[in-house]
Symmetry: C2
Subunit: 698 residues, 2 copies
Amino acid sequence: MKFYFTALAFFCLLFANAQSVASPSGKINVDFTLNIEGTPIYTVSYKNKPVITQSKLGIELKEQGALTSGFKILSTTTRMVNKSWKPVLGQTATITNHFNELLVALQQQESGIKINLVFRVFDEGVGFRYEFPKQDKLDYFVISAENTEFNLAGDHKTFWIPGDFDSQEYVYNETRLSEIDNDKLNLNNGISVKSIGGRYVVQSPLMMKSNEGLYINIFEAAVVNYPVMHLDVNTKNFNLTSRLVPNAIGDMAYLQAPCTTPWRTVMVSDDARDIVAQKMVLNLNEPSKIEDTSWIKPMKYVGVWWEMHVSKSTWDYSGTQDAAQKVTDKPRPHGATTENVKRYIDFASKHGFDGVLVEGWNVGWEDWFGHWKEDVFDFVTPYPDFDIKEISDYAKRQGVKMIMHNETSGSVANYERRLDRAMETMVQYGYPAVKTGYVGKIIPRGEFHDGQAMVNHFNYVPQRAAEYKIMVNSHESSRPTGVQRTWPNYIAAEAARGNEFNGWSSGNPPAHETILPFTRLLGGPMDYTPGIFEIKMNVYDPEKTEQVHTTLAKQLALYVTIYSPLQMAADLPENYEKYPDAFQFIKDVGIDWDDTKVLEAEPGDYITIARKEKGSPNWFLGAITDENARNTTIRLDFLEPGKKYKAIIYKDGKGADWQKDPINYAIETKTVTASSKIKLKMAPGGGAAISFMPVTNN
Amino acid sequence: MKFYFTALAFFCLLFANAQSVASPSGKINVDFTLNIEGTPIYTVSYKNKPVITQSKLGIELKEQGALTSGFKILSTTTRMVNKSWKPVLGQTATITNHFNELLVALQQQESGIKINLVFRVFDEGVGFRYEFPKQDKLDYFVISAENTEFNLAGDHKTFWIPGDFDSQEYVYNETRLSEIDNDKLNLNNGISVKSIGGRYVVQSPLMMKSNEGLYINIFEAAVVNYPVMHLDVNTKNFNLTSRLVPNAIGDMAYLQAPCTTPWRTVMVSDDARDIVAQKMVLNLNEPSKIEDTSWIKPMKYVGVWWEMHVSKSTWDYSGTQDAAQKVTDKPRPHGATTENVKRYIDFASKHGFDGVLVEGWNVGWEDWFGHWKEDVFDFVTPYPDFDIKEISDYAKRQGVKMIMHNETSGSVANYERRLDRAMETMVQYGYPAVKTGYVGKIIPRGEFHDGQAMVNHFNYVPQRAAEYKIMVNSHESSRPTGVQRTWPNYIAAEAARGNEFNGWSSGNPPAHETILPFTRLLGGPMDYTPGIFEIKMNVYDPEKTEQVHTTLAKQLALYVTIYSPLQMAADLPENYEKYPDAFQFIKDVGIDWDDTKVLEAEPGDYITIARKEKGSPNWFLGAITDENARNTTIRLDFLEPGKKYKAIIYKDGKGADWQKDPINYAIETKTVTASSKIKLKMAPGGGAAISFMPVTNN
């Protein structure tokens, strides 16, 4: 059976209980019904295969009781939308928003409370949410629980991290659903603050693969004025239930009708590439609230940062802290000195980088971490050896932008009361962007990084920053859910285990970056900080055993496989100068795109992506593998037909291996066309990066 | 036995267990010892009569355990201080700080943790506190309980209000200690948010009178970075124990050594006037942290305020709310219109007032209260009928200052993140002062008005306001404990049941204002908003039964008996114009003082105070009584000897009575000298006010 929709037309199917809505292609189908108790039930299928079996929907209110049963259907409405829009920064110049919608208006018979359940079915998957219309029976209310079920059809292979209310910076576990168990995790993982919500609670985006080869992803979109949703897994029957993050007194969300919850999303395809390429998360968010976006620009940057992570210098002026925030008895030099910063500015200017980030420039780092301390930083006072005026003038002369750093140490109360002053300082010295940080337990005390108050904070900072025309890159925030469509100056976030963990912890296993496009990156750009060339940390200290878990070539490929309009060349200038030919790729690679092609993808194994730079004929390709070597042949049919391109291929050298010989790379130059193929041989933990630039006829 | 002290000399009485220290006069004595368990014990006596019998001292730490026993004395040190200082604004030009101090350095033998107990004994009473010196065994710590005991020697008569963590706006109960019981209170009292800490928990300042005629007061001073201390009363044995106000997760205070608790104070005298006149609370606070205090000035003001309380107009533009924050179906005009405000400015200018307060000037009042809503006000956007530019220009031309109003509705998170913007708006339009308000449950949610975070907020706003040279008058704050010495721009607070309750609730019984000088006013100036001439609310609406529980003459006397450098003439301009002769006293009365004489005082019964205006030869006297009529004769020996003064006596008229005939007043003019006496006849709920101005020889 097939539904026919007319754009923006409304159908009222009154008194019908079971309702169906299909994706534009017809492959995905959602069925909705009320069961005998009047409980809302939905299912999702893909090509007639069950994806979500009968699952309940419901919300519990603190004062008005449970909105979980006793409902009747007041009306149902369907509509089709097919529109396109242009993101300010993005992976493609244009995004198509095409879905069929089913709105079921419900009323709980006893309480009289009305809610709407809205399903939007895209070809990529399903988004649904609860809406609380304006009504007499419900004005202000407190959500005490959300009981959204996602009952899965099998014991899928799952890429999961624990449902920690304070951090997502975990290594992904790859197990069956039935094997999920946070108690079995090794938590000696470099994460400082952990608040795991329960033994079987995991985070979304939760990426799964069924025995039948279906790729299924459960996530959410547009988390605004609501806590993050984690998922409580029943490892026996593969039922998942939403687990909201509570506030200090155990409440989940404070709302006022009319309002909505975030969208709960179920993406599904038999082609893994469709998950990576999805746009439905962005489409489920509100359009930009910033009218003039001309000041929002992508940035490639370097920074006084990795040298602290590798213990060459320190954040604090007194030089007693190392990267793991332990006080050490071996004082090291302060990193953010005027002289050292100028060195980075010179380097950025010479190599065409847009920006320079400097951490540890401001007073407070001597005692910043781990004590739930409220007043650590004032965000405006530089250390005496950091001449902010001289530095910003110097950067201006060199044509380089400075990137501000505001570490809050989790004291949001302190940051908010100083936010205007912090931003005014940025405007005063011409900083167009700020990297924020939230390392530590949150103040107001009792709040979690993923609670409603913090979600609001993370959305609020870009909102206020927009008034100052400042872009925001937040670290240790709740993970993005496409809200950067609404606040396009929220150009990047961390919110996953970044490259930095390779510097001073057990690090990120080679498969890590092949999973991110199926999980964290579905929500938005990540400031992963790739580009580490000196892979092994023993170059800094013979006693160090830490290392990056990739080859050098794979570090280059990450600039393409990890989408972000803010990309760091994270290694030290002197390291790049050792490998100038490889460094050329980082200098060349685009960071904002007209088009993106996901060429190959398998979560946990490999991914290959090609992207066309915005407003340029150049294409760039990144291919990465996990701990296994991989050979592949790439057809270049994404290139403009008939055009000749010079392809510079940065690849793993013969015998390269992330562990044994990671820096071993080779560079090959070819002339290619859209009908060419390129064979790639990737080392264990390896990858390849290619730039394609049209051959000019002069 | 008497101790002899040398100023600033130190005595070390090592290895002695029992220690004593006496007040400079020798009347008050404190004994300290460790009991057999190594628990600190103190007693307080007055003229050898026990005031505090053997009482334990101790603190419980969340992680390091209980600091309640197992102590040894490391050393004891005594010193004497006798210095004087000049308050920026105050009741006297000079304040003498004269005390003997005993510092007992203790170490808990098992944990090795060191604390100091410091006792300062003034002639007015005792202040003591816990000090945590810098030490290896203690850096950051969390206080989970403070176990300070105040074991009283008898079943004293007590003036108490319940230990509410969110409000002090109660009528005082006058019972024996044994009769304290919050469960017996009528809580239909106009207070919107109540969080009473337990059945027998009461607030300090706790005023008592023993059967032997000792006036005893338990309070605290310098509450900084610490929650408010309430008192848990054992109604059987009259033992009181400190009860700190918790935060959202049940912790009391987050501290880092070196640090101190607030001072716990026990004031005692056999003359009630000594309690009222005490200066030890101020003396126990830190000196001013504001260097240039030239911009801190007393203010007498009128305002668009009482007309909302009596339902003539509304705070909100849409005109649907009344004074009790109930939505009503009788829309009334918006109060804060440009036209109406100009009327107040004209009135202020004509009668020599310094300022005009306007409430309801800014958007948000339509839905501001009672829903724990976070974003209510932005503190900068006026209603369309309030032309802030025109009004501030007009006020300037008329020589009148505008007083800003920032109601937060308890959403401190919202206020703090907008505080700079709010203050910049004040500077932009030349407002030198702000009245802040905190009506409602606190956000961050789970915090109480009296918790550490909120105490810090209330101290922080004046601190930040000082950067803008703005004075602060906070309503619904935690009650002052002398911190205005440190931040002298914190010129007034409410923090008790103010006159406004008489407008729309059961009100304040006639005894109320005779108790305030023994309780709330010990901590600092109160913005009581006296001066209501139209005593009965039926003048506005024949159905209204509310009334002010005083005569008109008593309203005048309150300008003297209630100390505040910020005093409102709270009634409507048109009401003052009806009684211009009585209004003259409000126009004449001083608000900042060179000297203050408490002439008569009995808590709950009466009080008479005379004050000399700062930098002027004029004296003013206020005398009030409770529900009982009172005759008294006042000797004028406080006046300058040999000088003739014109005394204008504003008194209750014949047959005046707060209930039956409250507006009935008489004015008498006399010439008097320091050797004159004045007989005063006060009506039930009545009072008298007198101005003394030197007779000029022209």
